[in-house]
Symmetry: C2
Subunit: 204 residues, 2 copies
DNA sequence: GTCTATAGCCAGATAGAC
DNA sequence: GTCTATCTGGCTATAGAC
């Protein structure tokens, strides 16, 4: 039944199955039985390996977040110019998310449900910070490379333009009257479209 | 207990309480007992007025969507220029959502959970369409007012920049290390910031 | 219309055989 | 480690008194 049967050990199979179910249904909507079915094993095994639904969920969540964090580090802590970063990030991020379409919504939704999760994660070493990016924007504005803009606002704009369509996919599909295929084509075009849109706005 | 005790009739009090609970917890996370408590009445009354949790939820959802739709119509079907629309929409939408902060996430989340909801709503008369906006963008591009851009992509950009921060509030707060107050100030600045960012990018 | 009490079900968790 | 069977609690929904 599992989508990704990689002959893993049981623990890995459970985590894989749990990822799929939790990311589609959320903590409240997910059922341990469904995860067990997806993993092709018994409900009791879930508890044997992860003790409780809560702990299994947290394992999935941390895992998901640690996939997303390096993506954000590319825009925040890379050494290239802002323009380069915007171009690379936009293209890379959209490619990445197309492979994990439920990921951003899952993270956002569960952070809304329980903001305390963030505090836990924030303490981990891999957690991206905004400092370098803010300084770099300020520098490039002073040098006259960029029009005046606040680094925080620019950061919000970049992630909004890149992430939102994947969070609100059904909404976009509905308004634009497109299906799965049309949506994929649209996102493919956005890989360059979004970068151009941002650069157009901020470059002198 | 209810947040908004307007001396309404029972049915209205229930709907108000249900709105608060459903928008914070979602369909799966919400409890009928919590709604009853918030309305200051008995659990049995919920079923007396709305038959089931599902029907009560649908009432709340339709209500929420019919609040949001007119906001979108302002950007889609108003008669002013694209530039005017972008300025007005950005300011108006951010003001509106600041008063209903759970609304966008609620809509998006529940559409992800059950995309069939969209079909129902789509048939209602008030449902906004993209046609006029697309034509107008095309016109203004031809006239040389705007740089070449696809109307659909521009629409996605506009709603992404405006809606995303309210959907991903905990994420933004975490990255920027700000509290409620800081977030409000940030959004206040975005009322003009976002419009400027968009206009900068598309205007010739 | 409004309440209390309870039916009936379902999900998470555990006991215990193998 | 893996299974079946079962406990336990919580939740939606309803019955029925007032």
């Amino acid at each position: 039944m599992a989508k990704t049967n990689k002959n893993q050990d049981t623990e890995g199979q459970i985590l894989d199955a749990a990822k799929n179910v939790f990311q589609k249904k959320g903590m409240d909507g997910a059922r341990m039985q469904e995860i067990a079915d997806a993993a092709g094993i018994n409900k009791a095994m879930l508890h044997y390996y992860y003790r409780s639904k809560q702990l299994l969920f947290e394992a999935v969540f941390s895992n998901a977040f640690s996939l997303l964090a390096p993506q954000l580090n590319k825009i925040l802590n890379d050494d290239s110019s802002i323009e380069e970063k915007v171009k690379n990030f936009t293209s890379n991020y959209i490619s990445f998310i197309s492979k994990h379409p439920y990921l951003p919504n899952f993270i956002i939704q569960e952070l809304n449900r329980n903001p305390k999760f963030f505090e836990k994660i924030q303490k981990s070493a891999a957690f991206p910070t905004l400092e370098k990016f803010k300084n770099q924007v300020e520098e490039e504005v002073e040098k006259g490379i960029l029009k005046p803009i606040d680094g925080e606002q620019l950061f919000i704009n970049i992630i909004s333009l890149n992430i939102f369509p994947f969070v609100a996919t059904p909404l976009i599909k509905g308004f634009l009257k497109i299906d799965d295929k049309g949506f994929k084509q649209l996102m493919e075009r956005r890989k360059t479209e979004v970068a151009g849109f941002i650069i157009n706005s901020i470059k002198k």
